[in-house]
Amino acid sequence: MMQKVFSKPQALKDCPTHYCPGCGHGIAHRLIAETIDELGIRGRTIGIAPVGCAVLAYDYFDVDMVEVAHGRAPAVATGMKRTNPDKIIFSYQGDGDLAAIGTGEIIHAAHRGEQITVIFINNAVFGMTGGQMAPTTILNQVTTTTPLGRDASKQGYPLQVSELLTLLPGTIYIERCSLHKPALIRNAKKAIKHAFELQLNNAPGLSLVELLSPCPTYWRMTPVKAIEWMENEMTKVFPLGRLKG
C-alpha cells in the first residue's frame, strides 16, 4: 500500500498564487500554514493581511482572515486580541506596510506588549505598486523612485525595524531569518513556530519574525541573481539571527 509522506498543509488552499516567479511570499505562506497545522490551531487562528503584494493572502490561507488598511494591522490585531484573548492572532506585513506607513502602529503594539505574532516580510522594495523605494531599501539600490540608487544624504539609511523593536520591553522574541537557502528556510520555520508557540502559551509580549524575501521582479534580476544578491548584499545590511528572546 502506498503511504502518503508529504502533502499540502491544511491551512493552505489548493490553488495557484498570483506571486511572481522567484518570490518568497509562497514559501512564507507555506511555513505559516505548516505551523498552524502542526500546532492544531486552525480553528482558533485569525490572520491579518496587509496592503501590499500579500493583500490577497486570505485567498491562499484557509483560516479566518481580515484585510486591513495599509500599516494598521498591529492596531487591528490589538483590537482582536484584547477582545479575544483565547484566539491566536497573526499579522502578515511587508516592509512598506510595517516599516513605513505603519511604523506608529507596530511600535506601539510592541510597546504595549500585545500578545500577537507578527510575520514581517522584508524584500527591500514596494512590490505591489511597482518597485518603489521602501524604508528597507539598501544604499545604492535602484528602485523606480531612486533611479540613481538610494543615497543616504537624500533618502536616509535602510531602517532596521527589528533591531529598533528589540529595545522595547514589550517585545519577547524577535528573530531575522531569510528565505534564500533551504537551510535558512528550515530555520525560518522554527522561528515562526516558536513565535506562534509563545502566543499559544500566553507569553507576555509581542513576537516578531522578520523574513528576508526575494523580489526578482522589482530587483530586476533573475531568481538566481536575486538569491546571490541576498547572500552577498542584503544579509550584510540585515544580519540574520535571533535578536531578542
Binding site: 486570505y58 484557509d62 484585510e67
Partner: protein
C-alpha cells in the same frame, strides 16, 4: 438604575454604552470628550470588559475595526480633529460592512480650531466623511437624556445594518450636566453575526475585506451597500416637530442648536408669532419628506446651526423650491443666544423684504 442621576453628557453616554452591552472601548484623549475615556477606563474593567487608550485616533479606529471584525460590540469617541483622522478607518468599516459606533463631540474648526462647541462637522458626518461611495447613520441628540437613549439605538442600528453609526454631539452636550434615567428598553431582534472572525472551527473560512480586484465586483458591492442605505432611509428616519401645522415660520435645527431654538420659538409664540420647529434626530437619513410636507403651505424656513451653514443645504433640497429657506448660525465656537434667534424670527415676520 431607574432613578434620575445628574451626569455630564460624556459620562452619561459612556454608561449608556456599557448598559447597551459594549464589549470594548478604544480611544485617544481630545477635548471636549475626555470624560468618555476617563469614565471607560474605570468602568470597563469593573465589568470585565476592555478599555484601551490608543496611541492615536488612527490606531483607535483600527482597534475598533479589529474588535468589530470578531463580532464584538465596540466603540470609540473623539472630537472633530480626531474624527478627521478616523475617516480612513470609517471608510474601511463601511466597505467591510462592520458594525461600530463612533461618537463625535464636535468642537470648533477647521484645523485645530478651538475646544468650544460647534456643529461644523455636519458635512463630514452626513456625506460619508472618508473616501468612497458610502453613508453612515448619524444620530444627533439634543439633551443628555437623548444622548443616553441614542447609545443602545446606535449599537442596534450598527448591528442590524452592518454599518458604522455616528453619534454627533458637541462640546455643550458633552460637558453639561442634566438629570438622566437609564432605561433598559427591549432591544431589537438582531441578525446573527455569522460573518464574524472567530476561528474557522469546523466551518468554512470567514473573510472580512473591502478589496475585490475582479472586474465588476466592487461595482456590485456598491449597489448592495446602496440597497442597505435605501432600507435605512425607509425605516430609520427620526425627527421631532413642534407646532408646525399653523406655523408661518418653521425653524429647523438639530442637537444643541435645537435647544436654543426651542427657547426662541416659545418666546416668539408668546409674542403671537406663528412659528414652529422641526428637529432632525437622524441627520442621515435626513427627514426630507417631513420637511417637504411642511413646506406645502407657504412658510418660511429658518435653519439655525452652530456653523456657517451646512444642514441648510439639506433643508433646501428637502423644501425643493416650495418656500424660502433662510440661514442663521454662528461658527467656530460661537453659540447663538435665544434672543439672537428670536430677533431673527421677528425679522422674518416682516417678509418678504427681509428674506435674503
Amino acid at each position: 438604575m431607574n432613578e434620575r442621576i445628574l451626569m455630564c453628557g460624556n459620562e452619561a453616554l459612556a454608561e449608556a454604552a456599557i448598559i447597551a452591552g459594549l464589549d470594548a472601548y478604544f480611544g485617544y484623549p481630545i477635548t471636549p470628550q475626555n470624560e468618555v475615556p476617563e469614565y471607560m477606563s474605570k468602568r470597563m474593567p469593573e465589568e470585565g470588559r476592555v478599555f484601551l487608550q490608543s496611541e492615536s485616533e488612527l490606531a483607535s479606529i483600527n482597534m475598533v475595526f479589529g474588535a468589530a471584525a470578531t463580532g464584538k460590540r465596540v466603540m470609540t469617541s473623539s472630537s472633530s480633529p480626531g474624527i478627521s483622522l478616523m475617516q480612513e478607518g470609517i471608510s474601511y468599516l463601511a466597505g467591510a460592512e462592520l458594525p461600530a459606533v463612533i461618537v463625535n463631540v464636535m468642537r470648533g474648526g477647521p484645523g485645530l480650531g478651538n475646544i468650544a462647541p460647534s456643529q461644523g462637522d455636519y458635512f463630514q458626518a452626513t456625506r460619508g466623511g472618508g473616501h468612497g461611495d458610502y453613508r453612515t447613520i448619524v444620530l444627533a441628540p439634543s439633551s443628555v437624556q437623548e444622548l443616553v437613549d441614542c447609545m443602545p439605538l446606535a449599537f442596534d442600528l450598527a448591528d442590524q445594518y452592518r454599518t458604522p453609526v455616528l453619534v454627533l454631539a458637541d462640546g455643550i452636550l458633552g460637558q453639561m450636566m442634566e438629570p438622566v434615567v437609564f432605561n433598559k428598553k427591549p432591544r431589537r431582534k438582531l441578525p446573527p453575526k455569522d460573518w464574524a472572525l472567530t476561528g474557522a472551527d469546523n466551518r468554512k473560512q470567514n473573510i472580512v475585506r473591502s478589496l475585490w480586484l475582479k472586474e465588476g465586483v466592487v461595482e456590485q458591492h456598491n449597489y448592495d451597500l446602496q440597497a442597505v442605505y435605501k432600507e435605512i432611509e425607509k425605516n430609520e428616519i427620526l425627527c421631532e416637530q413642534y407646532e408646525v401645522d399653523d406655523a408661518e415660520i418653521v425653524v429647523v435645527a438639530y442637537g444643541i442648536a435645537a435647544r436654543i431654538v426651542r427657547g426662541a420659538v416659545n418666546k416668539a409664540r408668546q409674542e403671537g408669532i406663528k412659528v414652529g420647529w422641526i428637529r432632525p434626530i437622524t441627520l442621515w437619513p435626513f427627514p426630507t419628506e417631513q420637511i417637504n410636507k411642511a413646506a406645502d403651505n407657504f412658510k418660511i424656513f429658518l435653519t439655525v446651526e452652530l456653523s456657517c451653514g451646512q444642514m441648510v443645504e439639506d433643508v433646501k433640497l428637502a423644501v425643493a423650491g416650495k418656500a424660502p429657506v433662510v440661514f442663521y448660525g454662528r461658527a467656530g465656537g460661537g453659540v447663538p443666544t435665544v434672543e439672537q434667534v428670536l430677533e431673527k424670527i421677528r425679522q422674518l415676520t416682516l417678509r418678504p423684504e427681509n428674506i435674503i
